[in-house]
Symmetry: C2
Subunit: 126 residues, 2 copies
Amino acid sequence: MKEKELRRSLAVLPIGTVMKLTSLTARQIRYYEAQQLVFPERNEGNRRMYSLNDVDRLLEIKDYLADGVNVAGIKAIYDQQQQVAQAKAAAQQKPLTDEDVRRILQDEFIRQGGLGHPAPGMQRPL
Amino acid sequence: MKEKELRRSLAVLPIGTVMKLTSLTARQIRYYEAQQLVFPERNEGNRRMYSLNDVDRLLEIKDYLADGVNVAGIKAIYDQQQQVAQAKAAAQQKPLTDEDVRRILQDEFIRQGGLGHPAPGMQRPL
DNA sequence: CATTCATGTCAGATAATCTAACATCGGCGT
DNA sequence: ACGCCGATGTTAGATTATCTGACATGAATG
C-alpha cells in the first residue's frame, strides 16, 4: 500500500479543481493555508498545487467549521495529530517509555469523542 | 469498486500536471488528442482537463510509440477495444448470437500477442 | 528527392492564479 | 449601542498557464 499513499500525496491539482471538489472558494482555501491548516506545494510559477490528501483535509475542515469548531480549534486538533504521528515515528527508533505510552494513548482517547468527525488517519472516498 | 472508477475518470488535471506525470510535451499531448487517441474534457475557460485514466492512456501511448507502433496503429487498437466494450454492453441487453461470440473472442485473442503491452482493461499504478 | 509523420517553436489571445488591500457581516464582550 | 474580531467577499494589477494556428525540422520511406 505504499504506492497509494504516494499517489494521494502527489501535488497535482490546481486551486480551481480543488474549488470544485470541495465547494470552497479560493479565498477560503487560501485563508486556511494562511492559518496553517493546509500546506499546498507551489509549482515553478508559484501556483498552489494540491494533493488528494489536501482535498480530504479541506473537506474535513469544512465539516469542522459546519459543526461550529473555529479555525483555531481545528489547528489545535491537527497540531496534536502531528505530535502523535511524530511520537509514533520516534517509537520506531527507540522503544518508548511507559510515560510515552500513556501520553499517546491519552491523546488518542481524547480524540474519540466529538461530533462524528473522522478519527485521525481516516480518509473519505475520493 | 464503483467509486474508484469514478475517481479515475474525473477530469481534474490541467495539461501542465499531465506533462509532468507523463514526461510528454504539451505539443505531444495535444497531437495525440488531434489524432483521437485521448479525449480530455474542457473546463468553462476551454482549458483541457485530464483524468487519471487519461494519464494512463497517455503512458500507454508512449509505450506503444517506443515500441515502434505508430499513431494510426494505436488508434486502430483503441478503436477495436471500444468495439469490444460496446459489444459487451450490448450483450447485457439482448443475449448475443453465436457470430457475436466468435467475433468478440477473436478480437480478444488478437490482442493477446504483441510486445508486452497491457491487455485491454489493465491499468498501471499511477 | 519529395512526402509524411511526429514533434519543436513561435506569436498573439484568453484564462487562471497570485498578492495585497479594503469591505462586509455575524457574534460577543463591555 | 458600540466596537472588535474572525471568516469571507470583492476588487485591482501583475504574472503564469494554456489556447489556437502557423511554420520549421528531422527521420524515415517510397
